[in-house]
Amino acid sequence: MIDDQLKNIAEQAKIDLQECRNQNDILNIRAKYLGKKSIVNSLYSQLRNLSEEERPAFGKKVNELRNELERMIEEKEEELKLQIVNAYDSVQVYDLTLPGVYFPPGSLHPLTIIRRKMEDIFISLGFQIAEGPDIEDEYHNFDALNTPEDHPSRNLADTFYLDNGYLLRTQTSTVQVRIMESYPPPIYIISPGRCYRNDKPDPSHSPVFHQVEGLVVDKGISMADLKDTLQFFAKAMFGPEVKSRIRPHFFPFTEPSAEMDISCVSCQGKGCRICKNSGWLELAGAGMVDPNVLEMMGIDDQKYSGYAFGIGIERIAMLKYNIPDMRILYENDVRMLRQFRREII
């Protein structure tokens, strides 16, 4: 009879356990069968009603029942845990083809992007960045740069003059003058910035434009160093396959003066609309710093020599991004700017 009673308890526990859905149910079952006021505990309390002889056998059976119940509950617990883990691991309710959350960035202006790229290239070569004012006097813009009094670039048609007697710098070479005034050689600088020339806006001109000027003054600087630097720049900016050349030109503040061309980035030198079938694109003005300029700055031109170059940022941006008209750069159309959001700088 006792055996039946115990068997029934086990049977009932099995049924109860089948109903279990979560950890809480398990706790309830445990309380019901094994807790303080549980079925098993009440069985133990029957012990004292039994005779000495009956006790061991009964006790043993209850112990077995308790162990059996313990095992069943633990088994169920494991099963539930496994279910949860499996469910967690196998959930597939998302449509992974829907786009994710993303806060779209804006974009820097291509002129800023190119300026930064140029700065990085020259900084990697040991140049420092120096900046100066847009509003300049004639001395820094012309006199100190060996530009004669009657030079046509001093005309109103070329240079903007201000009502207080100053002018807007026509090139950032003015910064070179200011640096040479303040620091002895060796000097390795670039000066990026705004320049102004009284040109009517057209596809390749703008009254306000941007330049990166470079200046090196040191012992033993030759035109070969200038060529190396410009070539390094061209390849860093347009790729290792780009060819470059320098050819004679004229600037008042350099002697000899040169212009630098690169092989056309569009047709690789075969000849096309962009390079006007020449195969070459003009990239920079350059030359060896004129001894007069050095002398005016109080630098011994027998001991030191130097080179200078100027590169238009608009020009580089147009060539690099295939922008046909300079005026596009000043429209500030966000549809244009959006195209540059992935540029790395």
């Binding site: 806060f103 820097l108 009254p207 750069l329 500030n332 159309d333």
Partner: protein
Amino acid sequence: MIISARWLSKYIDLPETFEELVQTLTFTGIEVEAIKEIPALPETVVTARILTSEKIPGTEHLQICMVDFGKGPLQVVCGAPNCHSGLITVFAQVGSKLPEMEIKKTTIHSVESEGMLCSEKELGISDNHSGIIELPPETPIGISINEIFELPDSIIELEITPNRPDLLGYIGIARDLAASLNKRLKLPSLRNYPGEEDPSIKLTLLLQEPQKCPRYTARIIDGISIKESPLWLKIALIKSGLRPINNIVDITNYVMLETGQPLHAFDYHKLLPINQENSHPAIIVRRAKAAEEFIALDGNLYHLDEEDLVIADGQRPSALAGIIGGKDTAISNQTTTIVLESANFSPSTIRKSSLRHKISTDSSYRFERHLSPAHLEKVSNRALELILKVVGGRVCNELYDTYPEPQKPLYLSVRPSRFEELIGYELDAFLIKNYLQSLGFQYILCGLWQKEPINEYELLPQAISLDLEKNDNQIFYENPQMALYFQIPPYRVDITREADIIEELARLDGFDKIPQKKIIHPIMDWHAHHIKHRIEDYFRQSGFYEMINPSFIDPIKLEYLGEDKAELEKKLIRIVNPQSSNQSSMRTTLLPQLMDNLLYNLNHSERNLKLMELGKLYWKDGNKNCETLHLTALMTGLNTLDHWKVKNEPIDIYSVKGVVEGLLDQLGITIDEMKKVQHPWLVEADNLAYFSKGNLCASFGKMRVKTAEKFNIDIITLKQDIWVLDFEINTLIELTRTYKTVFSPLPKFPAVIRDISFLINLSIPYSDIVKSIQQVEPYLIKDVNIFDEYRGKSIPDGLRSISLHIILQDYEKTLTEERVEQVIDSVIKMLENTWQIKMR
């Protein structure tokens, strides 16, 4: 390598001060790792004899001693295990100040003690505290201990770079110092010891591995008795970090420290012969046999293999070559005849065996670094001389010397012109000669440079006669290939090329002589450069498009903004020859051009726009032209989050405020004042300006309908606010110039976050609430953050509901629940009293 300045001074006159010595060592290229000065001991610390010693009953070690120190005798209690009557030791009288204590008259176990018998540790000489110092019996009594221990002294720990094994001995270090200080190197004078031919005491020496052991010398000395070393020898070893063992072993160690060359001594009579026909004790330099067993001096059993090189006798290994000696053939108190080994082993053999068997000794450390075999006989003679002097005995036979392939001479040439090219200044040829000669290089001739080293005298080029002392250096620059030829001393195994010689010259002449050639002035303002990038990138990342507009502006547009005409006139810079009237002056603000950009883009169907420009403004201040960097931004439309699930919210005052405060936070600018902006183009209510230390940093506000109208934008029909943001870039650059990140130690105890919600009067600003809460417990309340604000239906008029996270943290200990409750309770009480809040 640990050296004593006193010992070093045997070989060279040291500089006046210890600081100078350290300085010279450092700039000669011998790095000083640690310095320990052993000060002179008081004159009251003297030698003394223990007359009687008697155990104190009921104690384990304590003894009552009567001590004679020239005066006395005095009664002293001593606990050292080696304390016994007759011993001569060191006695510190009452009143002596020792490095770690002052000696006082005391009573121990009711016995009076008038002074102390000292261990090495108590005198600060070493860390040895195993017993009191034992001085030799012939030591006079009552003399100052400074004399005996050569005090004061300085112990210098040097880091010897692996390329300089020649510096692993006192003489090598002294040689470098001598060259650097232009002083004479004092070497111990040596004589030859031919030895008496003794057919009964002979050695069979077989060198089977000349690759692994290029040279092996052995010397037999008979008639010695093994004892403790004399005091001077023991003291010398102790100061250099070695433990004295016995007279023979101590001498081999002393000579190793002196010359850098490890030596080993075998007990001649324990070396077994090869067989009966060849019955002399044998030394065979051979590879170990596979699984050959060897019990070393350290008592361990090693299983050798064929890669190990052993010094064996006729039967078994008696040393693991160059690493450790064997137990069976070691010097013992019974030893009367020794074999003194002075040998050379290949570095790779030693390194491999040392690694494989995990044994590193002073000997293996030196052999691993490549020693020269050239002067082994001299080192052997030096040890012999010391043995004869200290121990006595008799030299048997000639030096056994097996040197199958003697090291060839090495000649290298160095060009003075190359020194100038590499180091940057001219060094006179005669100085080059002097420096190198003081390092032990031998000057041979002056001739044309040759890159390859020369190993035979006959192959040297023809000498060009030249008087180097005449100091005419010009010839070396007229012909840059003119070079000086030197024979390299064999112990300088690191010198193999011209560049190595030039390094020696540069370091001896001093790196401080290297001139500063190009002074590159710092021109660039890196800080401004980086801050500008940070700002540009911040706006790009926040969804803004950068505009670039010309510097020219139409003055009429400034009037559109409502600026005062007379004020404008004062600051406006006009262009004499403008291309058109709408480009006739320099811009004093970026706003009009940005309004034009906004209109342009609105007209091209872009509704949600964030535009910014970072550029210069230009104005005059009397006769002065001013240019400052400024950033203006416009925001209108929706905050576009590219998401199909989340609705795009209109740009409101808090998203604009977030852009401003986000940048200020990223730049680390502390805002100490906020107030309304008085711009005629901004709506009066919804605007704010931020100040730091009195400087305007940034401001934002909502554009007036009327102003927008002037720029052809109809805000009412557009149904979008236009927000204007302004940043004073120059100010931001200057305010951040001194910003420094300093790591602060991470809190060891976790922070606790508590949330509170309450109703509060609408007129009370959030910032005031936060400030008042932080003041309740400034040390514990680390942060207060709002996570919800609600006004509306269920909230009574004139009130709002505020929900806050209060973050508490104690850097010293874990916060208890009670303490947290206590703080939160006082916060609530304060809020109730100050603002009449109602908790929710």
